[in-house]
C-alpha cells in the first residue's frame, strides 16, 4: 500500500510511545546505571566504568550459562520446527477435525508457565509421575532431579510439549493460504509428494516459518519460569539457563553491578539476532 506522508500521525502513536517508554526506558536506564557503578545501598554509588562488563565477559560462569542457553535453544528449534511442519501437513483441512485439533493443540499455550513447570514436575517424578514411573518400569534408570542428562531430556520434552503447537498453528495457516490451483498443477505435472512440499508448500510457508523461528528463538532464549519450577536449574547448575542464572545473581546474591552488566549483554545478544531476522522478514515481505 502506498502510504501518505503525514507527520501528525505521531499523535496517534503517542499513547503507545508513552506507555512503552514508561515501562522500558526508565527501568532500562536503571540497569545501565547499575552496570557502571558499585552500590552501597542508600543511594550511594561509586563509578566503576567497564569493570563489571569485563568481569562478566571473562567469567566462566557466564560462559557456561551462555553455552547451555545456546545448546538448549538450538535443540529446541531443531526439534520443534520440523515436527511442527510435519504435524501441520497431516492435519485435516476441513470437517469436524479442524476445530478439535485447533482447540486441543492450543491448550498448552494458555497454561500459566509455572503451572506448566509444576505439571511436568508431577508428571515426571520417578515414583508417582506417569512419565517417570513408566520409564523406570520399562527399564530406564530415570530420575530428573538427580541426573543431568535426564533433567535436560525432561526440560526439552516439556518445551516441545509447551510450544510445538505455536509452530503447528503458524505452518497450518501458511498451508491454508495456498490456492488449490497450485496442487492441481503439481498433480498434472506428476510431481512427487516431496517435490510438492519442496517447491510449492515450503516456499509458500517461508514467511510464517521465519516468524515461527523468530518467536521460538526469542522465547526459548528468555526461558525462565518453566525450568525454574521443574528443576530449579539443577541438578547442580546443569539446567541453569541465562535467565535463571541472572535472577540468581540479581535477587539471590544481590550482586547488582555484575547482574546489570549481564542483563545488558544478554539483551544485546537477543537484539542482535532479532535484528537480523527482522531484516530478513522485511526483505521477504517486500518481495511478495
Amino acid at each position: 500500500m502506498n502510504k501518505t506522508i503525514n507527520q501528525k500521525a505521531w499523535l496517534f502513536v503517542i499513547p503507545v510511545f508513552v506507555l512503552v517508554a514508561f515501562n522500558a526506558a526508565i527501568p532500562l536506564m536503571t540497569v545501565v546505571n547499575y552496570s557502571f557503578q558499585e552500590t552501597f545501598g542508600n543511594n550511594v554509588f561509586a563509578w566503576e566504568g567497564t569493570r563489571w562488563f569485563k568481569q562478566i565477559l571473562l567469567s566462566e560462569r557466564f560462559h557456561a550459562a551462555l553455552g547451555r542457553q545456546i545448546a538448549f535453544t538450538f535443540i529446541i528449534l531443531l526439534i520443534q520446527i520440523p515436527l511442527g511442519i510435519g504435524i501441520a501437513l497431516t492435519m485435516p483441512k476441513k470437517g469436524w477435525g479442524v476445530p478439535v485439533c485447533l482447540i486441543l493443540m492450543s491448550m498448552p499455550l494458555l497454561i500459566p508457565w509455572n503451572v506448566v513447570g509444576a505439571m511436568w514436575n508431577i508428571f515426571a517424578l520417578p515414583d508417582i509421575g506417569f512419565l517417570g514411573y513408566t520409564l523406570n518400569a520399562i527399564g530406564f534408570d530415570y530420575n530428573f532431579t538427580q541426573q543431568p542428562g535426564d533433567a535436560w531430556f525432561t526440560t526439552i520434552l516439556m518445551d516441545v510439549w509447551h510450544w510445538t503447537s505455536l509452530v503447528v498453528l503458524l505452518s497450518y495457516a501458511g498451508l491454508n493460504s495456498i490456492q488449490p490451483a497450485y496442487y492441481q498443477a503439481a498433480e498434472i505435472d506428476g510431481a512427487s509428494r516431496w517435490a510438492t512440499f519442496r517447491y510449492i508448500e515450503l516456499p509458500k510457508m517461508k514467511k510464517v516459518l521465519t516468524l515461527a523461528i523468530l518467536l521460538r528463538f526469542m522465547d526459548s532464549f528468555m526461558i525462565y519460569t518453566e525450568p525454574f519450577v521443574l528443576t530449579g536449574g539443577g541438578p547442580g547448575n546443569t539446567t541453569a539457563f541465562l535467565s535463571i542464572d541472572l535472577v540468581k545473581m540479581a535477587l539471590g546474591q544481590f550482586d547488582l553491578g555484575p547482574a546489570a552488566a549481564m542483563s545488558l549483554i544478554y539483551f544485546f545478544i537477543v537484539l542482535l539476532v532479532c535484528w537480523v531476522f527482522y531484516n530478513l522478514m522485511m526483505k521477504n515481505e517486500a518481495q511478495s
Binding site: M1, N6, L19, P27, V31, W113, Y133, V247, F267, V270
Partner: protein, 266 residues
C-alpha cells in the same frame, strides 16, 4: 500411507493431553494417596482440594487478582494500540520504521532483565502491589504485540474505504469507530486473545510486583507450596483451575485463530 495420516495429529494430541490428564488425576486425590500409591485414576475420589480453594479467600482471591490485571491489561493494550497501528498502516512519518523496530525490541527483552528495575520503579511511585502495576508492566510486551497484529489486519483493508468515507462526509472519529473498527473486528478479537494469553501466563513480573493485595494465583501456588509443606493435591487442583479461563477463551475465538495466523502477523 494416506490412510494412516490421521495418526500423526492424533498421537500428538494424546501426547499433549497426557500431562494435563495427570494433573487432573492428581487433583482428585488426597495428598496421602498421591505420595503413597501410584495409580492411573483416583482410588478414593475426593473433591476436598477444590472445596478448599473455593472456600479459602487466599486461594480464590488469587484467581480474582489474576483475572483483574489480565483484563485491565488487555483493554489498555488494545485501546492504545488501535490508533498507533492505524498510523503505522496508513501513514509515513518521521522515524516510523525505527519506532516500529524499537517497539518490537521490547517484545524481545527478557523479563528477567526488567524484574529488579521494575520492582524499584513501581515501589518508588507507590504502585507496588496493585493490579495497575502488573497491568502496566505487562504493556511492555503486549503493546508491541498488539500493534504488530493490528497493523497486519489494518493493512489488509484497502485504503479506498477511508477515502470513500471522507468523501461521504464522515469525520475521522465517526469513520474510525462506525466503519473501520467493525471492519477489523476479527483482528481486534485475535489481538485481545493474544494479549489475554500472554498476560495470563506471565509470572515473573506479576510475582515481582505484588506482595499480598494483588497476588496472582500462580504466585499463591508457589508460595503455598513452600510454606505448608508439599500439598500436591491442592497444588494440582489449583493448576487445573488455571487451565479453565484459557480454555474458555480458546473456545470463543477458535474460528478466528486460524484466520489470524493466516494474516501472517502473530
Amino acid at each position: 500411507m494416506k490412510k494412516y495420516k490421521w495418526l500423526v495429529p492424533t498421537l500428538y494430541i494424546v501426547f499433549l493431553m497426557l500431562p494435563i490428564y495427570w494433573l487432573i488425576n492428581m487433583s482428585f486425590k488426597t495428598t496421602t494417596e498421591i505420595i503413597n500409591t501410584y495409580s492411573l485414576w483416583p482410588q478414593k475420589f475426593t473433591t476436598e482440594n477444590y472445596v478448599k480453594i473455593f472456600t479459602d479467600s487466599t486461594w480464590y482471591m488469587g484467581y480474582v487478582n489474576s483475572i483483574t490485571y489480565t483484563v485491565f491489561n488487555t483493554i489498555l493494550s488494545v485501546a492504545a494500540a488501535l490508533p498507533a497501528a492505524y498510523a503505522f498502516s496508513r501513514y509515513k512519518f518521521l522515524g516510523d520504521k525505527h519506532l516500529f523496530f524499537w517497539l518490537l525490541t521490547n517484545r524481545m527483552a527478557p523479563p528477567a532483565v526488567f524484574a529488579l528495575p521494575f520492582f524499584q520503579f513501581y515501589s518508588s511511585v507507590n504502585l507496588f502491589d496493585t493490579h495497575i502495576a502488573v497491568a502496566l508492566s505487562h504493556c511492555l510486551f503486549n503493546i508491541p504485540l498488539a500493534v504488530w497484529i493490528l497493523e497486519g489486519f489494518m493493512s489488509a483493508v484497502p485504503k479506498e474505504l477511508d477515502e470513500t468515507a471522507y468523501v461521504d462526509g464522515y469525520s475521522f472519529g465517526r469513520f474510525f469507530f462506525k466503519i473501520f473498527v467493525p471492519t477489523i473486528a476479527a483482528g481486534i478479537g485475535i489481538t485481545m486473545f493474544f494479549c489475554f494469553m500472554f498476560s495470563w501466563v506471565e509470572l515473573l513480573l506479576a510475582k515481582t510486583l505484588t506482595a499480598t493485595a494483588a497476588k496472582p494465583i500462580a504466585a499463591t501456588m508457589t508460595r503455598t507450596a513452600s510454606t505448608s509443606g508439599y500439598e500436591l493435591g491442592l497444588l494440582a487442583a489449583a493448576g487445573t483451575l488455571t487451565i479453565i479461563p484459557g480454555a474458555i477463551v480458546i473456545y470463543f475465538v477458535k474460528n478466528y485463530i486460524a484466520k489470524g495466523f493466516a494474516m501472517g502477523r502473530v
